[in-house]
């Protein structure tokens, strides 16, 4: 019984820690804020270890983040075009 309570406590602690808001974007720490021209939000990746999907997602790697951003911007472009673009600077 004690073991069960301990496990439950551990799960609650993990859930609390991942739902902690990151100060920069307002996203939980297990996600990344991704903004595209028509949509934005906090994205997590989930892994399937053979039979079941993760209960809690993980923060995307930079490559995964880039792929998600690409996909969102690409899809935005098929929904009424692209947001205005900044004038180029002097790099």
């Amino acid at each position: 019984m004690k073991k069960m309570f301990l496990s439950l406590g551990f799960i609650v602690a993990v859930m609390f820690s991942v739902s902690a808001q990151s100060s920069q974007s307002g996203c939980p720490s297990n996600s990344t804020y991704i903004s595209a021209s028509c949509v934005s939000g906090c994205y997590s990746v989930y892994t399937n270890n053979g039979t079941i999907w993760d209960f809690i997602g993980k923060k995307p790697t930079t490559d995964q983040e880039n792929a998600i951003r690409d996909d969102l911007n690409r899809r935005c472009s098929t929904f009424g075009g692209q947001a205005s673009i900044d004038e180029p600077g002097n790099i």
Partner: protein
């Protein structure tokens, strides 16, 4: 009159160009790389030229590379300086080195460019520069270029060069790809190179132009979750929105661009 004066000043400065200077030329690219897109996508691109050497990148990609090189890039920067195209094209004489990223991999190929230009008599004024027309075929498309003898720089956007002056306008015959001259400035010379690579050179995937275009077309026709599992032999991965604006409309699988919808800049990989 003011325009003419500026043009004369720039032409004089061009004639005086020394070894420690380079030209920074900006183009506005408008393209429909999917047939289903109603309005063309827009990106600025930047061509840096010094004598027989040049580097060409999308402006936002070049900016992001600089921030990565300086070690100051943030996630907000990645959102702000997003670019549809990530390739870089480094030219030395007629040989180009092409780098591009497909998900977790950096691809690389070399190519020798010898466009067979057909020079036409037609003339057009572009931003005060007198331009002449030329036509060529490349990558399965027919291209119309407008170049100016006022700027005798053998360069142009993307992989195009080989004319007696700078290319100020480039369009393919279907109207899917347009490159329009935006500005030119003279700058202090800096090394013409891509300032940040996804992978060290030893890990680049060395390939050919045709093979790269086949791989790119295959990847671009995947759904997002398929992309996240691209080349993955381990556990399956999927992405989920856990906060923010609803993107369910975007996730509609019927809207996923598939292979038949692709309209890449080079289409001769299908041959």
């Amino acid at each position: 009159m003011k325009y003419l004066f500026l043009l004369l000043c720039f032409s004089f400065s061009f004639a005086q160009n020394s070894d420690d200077k380079m030209y920074s030329i900006t183009y506005l690219n408008q393209f429909k790389d999917r047939k289903s897109i109603d309005f063309p996508l827009k990106e600025y691109s930047r061509l840096l030229v010094n004598k027989n050497e040049s580097i060409y990148q999308i402006y936002n990609a070049m900016h992001l590379d600089t921030l990565k090189f300086e070690g100051t890039v943030t996630s907000d920067d990645r959102n702000r300086y997003y670019s549809f195209n990530k390739h870089s094209i480094y030219f030395k004489n007629n040989t180009l080195k092409y780098n591009d990223v497909i998900y977790e991999d950096e691809y690389y190929y070399e190519e020798t460019i010898n466009h067979s230009w057909e020079l036409k008599d037609e003339e057009m004024d572009i931003k005060g520069y007198s331009c002449r027309k030329a036509i060529t075929n490349y990558g399965g498309r027919e291209w119309e270029a407008w170049y100016t003898l006022d700027l005798p720089i053998n360069a142009g956007p993307y992989k195009f060069k080989g004319l007696p002056g700078l290319i100020l306008k480039l369009t393919d015959s279907t109207g899917s790809y347009n490159f329009d001259f935006y500005a030119i400035t003279e700058r202090e010379l800096k090394p013409l190179k891509k300032y940040h690579h996804l992978k060290p050179k030893s890990e680049w995937i060395n390939t050919t132009r045709t093979n790269f275009n086949k791989i790119k077309a295959n990847y671009e026709s995947l759904s997002l979750n398929e992309k996240l599992n691209y080349g993955n032999t381990g556990p399956k991965i999927k992405v989920k929105l856990i906060g923010g604006s609803d993107d369910s409309e975007l996730r509609n699988p019927k809207k996923v661009a598939r292979a038949k919808d692709l309209n890449l800049i080079e289409i001769d990989y299908k041959d």
